[in-house]
């Protein structure tokens, strides 16, 4: 099976299943259904996966995550140095993608927390809610309405407008 996500990174709170104290002699339908699922779906699928892994054993190749060096940003480029502009633009685009993924991860955490807690999520998931609010506000203020043709220059101009607005307020 492809490895499940690392449980230490997104820790779930310990489940609070009460101790079972059955007093009726009727068969437990949940147990029956779970056993049915196990024998009809889980076992065949796991067996197939084990066979396939047996065929593939040992010849696994590896893939890596690419590491990019940091290059001077748009503010550190000389005027008219178009090559520097290009490298800064590419770096900004990679950072934009990374920030989008960060927002998605925070969203996923909030969604998982809400699913776990049920109706009382607003109270129990307070940390995740605050984190999500902070991250999405930051993302909106930096990359918010740049649009489909966003570029490093437009983002810089947006930052300039933001700083000007802050100065006017202060």
């Amino acid at each position: 099976m492809p490895k499940d996500h690392d449980k230490d990174v997104y820790p779930e709170p310990p489940s609070r299943t009460p101790v079972e104290d059955r007093q009726s002699s009727l068969p437990n339908p949940a147990l029956i259904l779970s056993k049915l699922f196990y024998y009809s779906v889980d076992l065949p699928v796991t067996a197939f996966r084990d066979i396939v892994e047996g065929i593939q054993s040992g010849k696994r190749s590896h893939y890596y995550h690419q590491k990019f060096r940091r290059v001077p940003e748009l503010t550190q480029c000389q005027e008219g140095d178009y090559v520097c502009y290009y490298e800064a633009e590419m770096q900004w685009r990679r950072d934009y993608k990374v920030d989008q993924e960060i927002v998605k991860v925070i969203q996923e955490r909030l969604r998982a927390c809400q699913q776990r807690e049920g109706p009382s999520y607003r109270q129990n998931c307070y940390k995740e809610l605050q984190q999500f609010e902070q991250v999405s506000k930051a993302f909106q203020s930096r990359y918010g309405d740049l649009g489909a043709y966003a570029s490093a220059r437009k983002c810089l101009m947006k930052q300039k407008e933001r700083m000007m607005a802050e100065q006017q307020q202060a």
């Binding site: 492809p2 396939v52 065929i55 593939q56 010849k59 696994r60 190749s61 590896h62 893939y63 890596y64 995550h65 690419q66 590491k67 008219g80 140095d81 178009y82 090559v83 290009y86 490298e87 590419m90």
Partner: protein
């Protein structure tokens, strides 16, 4: 009343003709007669009487669907078999940390073996594309700079006139024949 009887007979007639709506017609209730059943109880040794059912042609529709299925399956099955064999016998790669001092090839950044093969065989490495783009930008920047310089130099030479450009060649002074004007009284 006469119209009613006419309607009744017309309803009974159409009910008798229509094979689908046989039981319990309004005509039965109105006239309180049992409908004359035309279903003769005969047991054939076959599927019943053969009917020539008249309906619009479905030749073109069935031909289209047959050809569609044929052409989709023609390459669909080999592709499906290929992808299945690759997934079962070769399998996807595992994520690993980049070892010290090792520069992975550009196809080693992908997971699925077919993607890796495509990246290895057909595509240039992204580093190469990046460098190609930077080279193009450098060339264009140099061309733009050259053009600006040329305009500047042209302006200067036009103004001052002491440069090699914008000079019109005149005749050599030694070639001029001064003899007609050399003596005053001629």
């Amino acid at each position: 009343m006469v119209g009613m009887s006419f309607l009744r007979t017309a309803a009974a007639f159409t009910a008798r003709l229509n094979p689908l709506k046989r039981p319990c017609q309004a005509s039965n209730l109105l006239s309180r007669t049992v409908a004359r059943s035309e279903q003769v109880v005969v047991r054939h040794g076959s599927h019943g009487k053969r009917m020539f059912i008249i309906k619009p042609t479905d030749f073109y529709d069935r031909r289209f669907l047959h050809l569609l299925k044929y052409y989709i399956i023609l390459t669909g099955i080999p592709m499906a078999a290929l992808v299945t064999f690759v997934n079962v016998f070769i399998g996807e790669s595992e994520l690993a940390e980049i070892p010290e001092g090792y520069e992975p090839e550009h196809w080693e950044y992908y997971k699925h073996p077919i993607t890796r093969w495509i990246a290895r065989t057909f595509y240039d490495s992204p580093v190469k594309d990046y460098e190609k783009m930077m080279a193009l930008i450098q060339i264009e920047a140099e061309k733009a700079e050259m053009r600006q310089l040329q305009l500047e130099v042209r302006r200067h030479m036009r103004e001052k006139g002491d440069g090699p450009w914008f000079q019109i060649q005149t005749l050599d002074k030694n070639l001029i024949d001064h003899s007609p004007k050399s003596s005053p009284d001629n």
